[in-house]
Each structure stands twice: as structure tokens, then as C-alpha cells.
């Protein structure tokens, strides 16, 4: 899209004062900010246990509800005190946390240990009165949580049934947000609470209209400082062109989910910039090993070696994504396996592997969705051509929804997917999706006995060195010996805004509008 410089200068000049969106009421001169997003909530609810979508609800959820242990959104997402000021290990199954004093919920109540216990209790997470999928998802987040003990008004203990070194990570992850017991019980049932959530975050819910808008007001008693913005208006604008046009016209102060090919055109106009970068999510392609051509792991490895990930990053992501070190992130800290890489791009070696495996020309279906992931179709076209170049008969099948992608009718071959680091341990990614209880194995696409044994070791082991060894071996199995998936690239997220607005995109999907991230 090319736009006259005159118009854009005018829009840019108008934005620094945020006068477009600012309404002065009394002494409150803080601006009102409008954010155009592609999607507010996939599930039509605000409940993080129903809303299992990292690229929609994660934008705003942290503004409303918070976790006991937070992540440093201005740093590298390392763990930092949140609603808990400190935590310590009692034993391999128990973590004790000191609650931050003076934290106020949006309804005016002070945060207590009872609210914390309630947030992980049967009424909120695990009970029979909830829709059946909510306890199932809660069990995914907390597979072995035994109880939350109230030690005192400001101290709680999380007690697991089995040893688990990832408890602190789970406490910092989505799904572990703290809600007000009184607010929940006054609202009534889950359905009412799913449309109106109460938390301790810097902004409180004013109005939610599914598939249209989410309006938040500043929570002036926020423990982290008075919010710098009087109201946040998240508007759902499905079309990227409409989001960009609204931004340039000055109607929106932020336009999210900017396609990489629009970064240049937007930044070519003075006054506007596109922020963002890598997030804790990798684009992957998964195998169905039961396909006749994919039974032999050499063909799967060949398919990995046939892909030039860096070319995809350069051509389709303007160089702003990257080829990662396999299914892991430096965010894992000491669990990160140094020196590991995705299979090296080597089409000759790949073709030799295909030949050695005795591939008989069976057609392989490559199921994708219509740009559900950024640049998904062009990426698939490059990948499919790469596979054809090593002698494989691959055909792209564009599907409308996940049901069609995973449909067992017809031969399944390979399909697009992604994998996120929900918390800072490989349990959250490689075990979560490819382990024995992960969707790939549960759906019958792939399995590996050693991988399953190592998954248990990773989940319940307490020897950090052995856990790291187990993880390294899992990478070896899943990405070399018996490939379960191919890691294409690390995903990136882009947000466009006027340069004058003092805000930085965190290294995540979250749009942090707290005082920490607004420097004016």
C-alpha cells in the first residue's frame, strides 16, 4: 500500500499528543489508547483456561490478571516477583510463596492467601460444576497438583503429588492467574465469570463484546504504580489492510499482527515504526509416521535437511525471524542445550537419504491452513518445492480448520503447527506437544518408547544434570533419529505505532501498558 507523504505527515503530527484519542475529564489527562488487533479472543470468552490461544488473549490478559511469579517483560522474560514477593523450595514437591502486601483487586478487596487457594481450587479449576474441558485444561497446566495450603494470610504453599522442578515455571505461566474469590462467587457460575474477569492487573474490565471490542479502565490502586493510560480500547479489526489504514489515519494508536511484508511500507512513512521481534514460539511441521513413505525415519530426516530455513526467514520475514537451535529457547536457562542445531540444509544428502530409504513415489499430503500462521502459504510453497527437489511427491492441501487438518480420513502425511514455551522448561514444549500425553501422540501421528520414558524423567526428575541429559537425548530422537517434527523458524510478532508513543514491544505477545513500559 502506497500512501501520500502529505497525509501521513499530517497523521504523524497529530499523534504525538494522542489528542485523537484523548478526552479530558476533570484532572485526569491520561490518554485513551486504541489498539487494533486481528482477534481479541478465539473462544469468545475471557477465561484463560478456555482461551487456549497464545496469539490472541495473551495481548491483554496480563493487563487484567496476574500470576504469583511474573516474567520480566522489559528483559528476557526471566522470572521476577509478581503477586508473590519471594518464594522458596520446601522440598521437591513443595513451593512456599510470600504474597505481596497491599495488592488490591479491581473490586477493592485485598489479595489474600484465600484468593490464591480459591484460584487453584475446585470452584475455579478442577471441580465438577465447571464445563468439562476446564478441569481437563487445568490438569494440563497442573498435572500433579495436590493442594494449596494456606500457611498464613500472606503465605501459601503449593504441594505437588510428585516431585516437580517446574512448579515455579508453572506458577508464572498462563492459566495460573489469580482471581478474586468474592468476585467469582458474586458473579455466579463459570459462564458469567468467563465474560467478566476480575484481577489485580493495572487495568480493569469495563466492557467485553466478543469478536468486537474489549475496553479496560486504569486500576489506579495497582501495586505496580498508577497506570499511565486512562483507558485501553482493544478493537477487533480482522483485515490487516484495515488495521494499517486506521493506524495511518490516526484512529488507532497501535496496529497489531502486522505482516512482515508490510513493515517496509509502514516504516517508509515518517512518524511511524514497527516494533517487535522474536517470541517464544517456533513454527514447526509435524509428521504422521504411519504414512507409507514416512515410516522410514530417513525420509523424515531428509525432509528436514531439504529445507533452507534461513532463506525462508530472509525472503518472507525480512530477516526479522530466525532459525533456532531446535525446539528450545535460551529462555530455558540452564536447560538450554548449547551447540544443538536443526538439521543442516543439504539437499544432496537429503536426496541420497530418500534414495537409500527406497522411496517408491507415494504421494505425500502436506496439510496447511490458509495463512493461519503468518506467511503460512508462501512458506508451504517454498517447503513443498524443496521436498520435490529431492524427489518426493508432495502436494499441498489447504484446509479451512484444524478438524480438517487432523482428519483421519484420507492419508495423512505432514502438517503445519507451532510450539510455544509456556514456561521456562522443556516440559512446557517438547513434552507438552510431543510427549506421551501431547497432542501429536494422542492423535496417533507419532510415538517413540524412549521419548516417552524420557518425558516422565523430565517431568518428575529432580537431578538437574540428568534432566538436561534427558532433554538433549529427546532432541536427538525427535529431530534426528526418529523425527517427529521439523523446526522451520522462530516466530516473530510485529506491532506498528507512531514513533512518538513511549512504548516498547516486549519479547512476547503481551502488550504491556503498565507504567513499567510507558516512559513518558
Amino acid at each position: 500500500m502506497r500512501l501520500p507523504r502529505r497525509t501521513l505527515l499530517a497523521a504523524a503530527a497529530a499523534v504525538p499528543t494522542v489528542a485523537i484519542a484523548q478526552t479530558v475529564t476533570g484532572a485526569d489527562t491520561r490518554p485513551v489508547i486504541t489498539i487494533a488487533v486481528q482477534k481479541i479472543a478465539n473462544s469468545g470468552t475471557l477465561d484463560p483456561l478456555r482461551e487456549q490461544s497464545s496469539n490472541a488473549s495473551e495481548r491483554w490478559l496480563g493487563s487484567i490478571q496476574e500470576t504469583l511469579i511474573a516474567r520480566n517483560q522489559q528483559g528476557s522474560l526471566e522470572r521476577v516477583p509478581g503477586l508473590a514477593t519471594a518464594w522458596r523450595r520446601i522440598d521437591d514437591r513443595t513451593v512456599e510463596l510470600d504474597l505481596r502486601p497491599g495488592v488490591k483487586f479491581h473490586n477493592g478487596d485485598e489479595l489474600t492467601a484465600e484468593d490464591v487457594a480459591f484460584s487453584f481450587g475446585p470452584e475455579r479449576m478442577f471441580g465438577p460444576t465447571l464445563p468439562a474441558d476446564i478441569p481437563a485444561i487445568a490438569h494440563r497446566h497442573w498435572p500433579a497438583l495436590d493442594r494449596v495450603e494456606i500457611v498464613s494470610k500472606t503465605t501459601v504453599r503449593f504441594v505437588n503429588k510428585t516431585p516437580d522442578l517446574t512448579m515455579e515455571g508453572r506458577l508464572s505461566a498462563g492459566g495460573s492467574e489469580i482471581t478474586s474469590r468474592r468476585a467469582w462467587q458474586e458473579a455466579g457460575d463459570w459462564q458469567a465469570n468467563s465474560q467478566r474477569i476480575t484481577g489485580t492487573g493495572p487495568y480493569k474490565l469495563r466492557r467485553f463484546q466478543a469478536d468486537n471490542s474489549l475496553i479496560l479502565d486504569a486500576h489506579d490502586e495497582y501495586w505496580g504504580g498508577r497506570p499511565p493510560i486512562r483507558a485501553l480500547r482493544f478493537l477487533e479489526v480482522p483485515e490487516a489492510a484495515s488495521r494499517i489504514a486506521g493506524l495511518l489515519a490516526g484512529e488507532y494508536q497501535f496496529a497489531c499482527d502486522i505482516p512482515p511484508d508490510q513493515i517496509g511500507p509502514i516504516e517508509s512513512h515518517p512518524g511511524f515504526e514497527v516494533q517487535g521481534g522474536l517470541v517464544l514460539n517456533h513454527r514447526i511441521i509435524t509428521f504422521d509416521e504411519h504414512h507409507p513413505a514416512l515410516v522410514d525415519p530417513r525420509v523424515r530426516l531428509a525432509m528436514a535437511q531439504a529445507i533452507d530455513g534461513q532463506s525462508i526467514v530472509d525472503a518472507l520475514w525480512a530477516g526479522r525471524a530466525r532459525v533456532p537451535a531446535g525446539l528450545q529457547w535460551p529462555f530455558y536457562g540452564d536447560m538450554f542445550v548449547p551447540g544443538w542445531t536443526v538439521p543442516k540444509y543439504d539437499p544432496d544428502a537429503a536426496a541420497a537419504l530418500v534414495k537409500a530409504a527406497g522411496y517408491k513415489g507415494e504421494p505425500i499430503a502436506y496439510r496447511v491452513r490458509n495463512n493461519y500462521y503468518t506467511a503460512e502459504i508462501p512458506t508451504a510453497e517454498i517447503v513443498a518445492e524443496s521436498w520435490k527437489a529431492i524427489g518426493l511427491d508432495v502436494a499441498i492441501e489447504v484446509k479451512e480448520n484444524w478438524g480438517q487438518v487432523l482428519d483421519h480420513a484420507g492419508p495423512r502425511g505432514v502438517r503445519d503447527w507451532s510450539n510455544s514455551a509456556v514456561f521456562d522448561d522443556p516440559v512446557s514444549s517438547i513434552v507438552n506437544q510431543h510427549g506421551p500425553d501431547g497432542a501429536q501422540q494422542q492423535d496417533g501421528e507419532w510415538t517413540n518408547a524412549e521419548m516417552n520414558r524420557l518425558s516422565v524423567e523430565l517431568e518428575t526428575g529432580t537431578d538437574r544434570a540428568r534432566r538436561k541429559q534427558a532433554f538433549a537425548r529427546m532432541l536427538q530422537i525427535c529431530e534426528r533419529e526418529d523425527p517427529a517434527y521439523i523446526v522451520l523458524h522462530q516466530n516473530a510478532v510485529f506491532t506498528a505505532k507512531p514513533k512518538a508513543l513511549p512504548w516498547r514491544q516486549p519479547p512476547s505477545f503481551f502488550l504491556d501498558f503498565s507504567a513499567r513500559n510507558w516512559t513518558a
Binding site: M1, L3, P4, T7, A10, A11, A36, N42, S43, G44, T45, R50, Q52, S53, P131, A132, D133, I134, P135, A136, I137, H139, R140, Q191, S194, Q195, Q209, A210, D211, N212, S213, L235, E236, V237, P238, E239, A241, S242, A245, G246, L248, A249, G250, E251, E400, N401, W402, G403, Q404, V405, L406, W417, S420, Q433, D437, A439, Q442, D443
Partner: protein
Amino acid sequence: MLRFIALRLARSALTIILVVTFAFAVLRLSGDPALAIMSPDAPVEAIAAFRHSWGLDQPLYIQYVRYFLAILHGDLGQSMRDGRPAIDLVMERIPATLALALPALALKIGLGMPAGIYAALHRNSLTDRLVMAGAVAGFTVPSFVLGLLLVLLFAVQLGWLPSGGDESWRSAILPVLTLGLGGAGILARFTRSAMLEVLGQPYIRTASAKGVPWGAVVRGHALPNAAIPTVTVIGFLIGSLMAGSVVVESVFSWPGVGRQLVVAVANRDLAVVQVILLMVASTMVAANLIVDLLYGVLDPRLRNAVAH
């Protein structure tokens, strides 16, 4: 006449049943609501629990029979996304859609018919050609493209109007123009054709030969006779009021039934889709019925034929 209306109503009911059945089959055979709403990353047990709680694990024919019986009992079902009654969800959005659709209909009729009449009365003139060129452009440019062009011109370049949303009455101007201009083009073409055909009839020449002023000939003889095909087209336009809003509401982020339909179809949220389809089908059926009745009012020959 009563028999005529009863017959039409029976046919209408059959049409609606077929629409509902077709939509049920297509939606349920082409996607899993549990995966659409919860994403494939959700635990398998959660997806299974979701399917069970909504009866999606039952054979398809049982799901259909249950659904159909519920409709007959006046229960249009609940949204699988948030558990609210589907009819409530749709009714919340109807005002927003009508706020676009009714002004757009007025624009279609108010602009399209006079333009078509004027073009016919000035056949082969420069004005006629300009009007027809505009009409062809109006209905051949896709509403998606027209909408974005209007946004670029009036919102981004000139800054006169909002590019989207529903914040004020000004937000409705561009979507109404997008919806209305295409329909106005269609109506202009049909009106012109109908008028040209009527103007070539012997009774028009006779009236003129008898010395009736041209204006009176047009008003008294040409317009009423040209009205029948024009009314037919207006009937189609009324019937497609809600259906036509799907693309425009997405382009302009307008929170109406059209966008709701897109989201509900993507999520296979059957109850919501069915309520919207029932409304669209009912609107079309009602529009056709009214058009049929208007034929009788406009043309005594049709009225008499029905009576006999």
C-alpha cells in the same frame, strides 16, 4: 388469494427446512467445533470433554434429530463458545446490521431507480453512457475492494471519515456507501432496461399520439409497467440485506450479524450459524412473498389470474 398465500408460505417453510438441513450437514461434516474453539494445542481430554458436553460425540443423525426437534420446540440452541442462547447473541447484533442495511437499501433505491429512469429517458446520450458506466462499475467492483478504496480516499488521504468501527454515525457512512453503491448499480441497470422495453410498447406511442404530455405518459403508463421487474430486483436486494453485510462488516470492523456469521462459521458454532441462516432465509422468503403480492397490486391481470 388466501390459498395463494398459504401455498407460498408452505413453500417458504420447506425452503427454510432445506436451508437448515443443508447448513447442518455442511458445517458438521467439514470441521470439528471443539478443535476450532479450543485449538489443537488443547489437551486431548479437554477436547473429548468438550465434544461430550455438546453431544458432538453422538452419531450425526442423532445430533440432527435432536437439533431439529429442539427447533420445533422453539429452542434454537446455545453458542458452543460461551454457552449463551444463540438467539440472544444474534439479536444483540441485529441493530448494528440494520443500521447499515436500511440506509444502504434507501441508497440503492434512491440512487439506482432515478438513475435508471433518467438513463432510459435519455437513451444513447452522454449522460446515459456515464450513468451506465457508473452502474457497471458499481456492481462489478467487489465490495471488499470498493470498501478499501473508500477507506484510502476518505479516511487515510482526506481524513474526513473514520476507517472503521462503530463509534459514531460517521463510522457508518463508508460501509453504507460500500453496501449501497453496488446495489444501486444493479437497480439502475434493471430499471433502465425495463423502462426501455416499456417505452417501446405500442400503448406508449398511442398515448403520445393522442396528445398526452410526455411527462404524464411516463408517470401514468411507463413507470407502472416498468415497476414489475424493478420490484423483483428490489425484492432480491431486501432479501440479501443481511447476507450482503458479511464482507463489508469485516472490512469496516462493524459489529453486526455479518461478522458474527463469519466467526461462527469458522468456529463451527452451529446454533449461531443456524439462527443467522434462519433469519436470512426468512428475510428472503418474506421479501419474495411481498414481491409476489405486490405483483398483484401492480398488475390487475396477475391479480385476476390468481383469483381464477
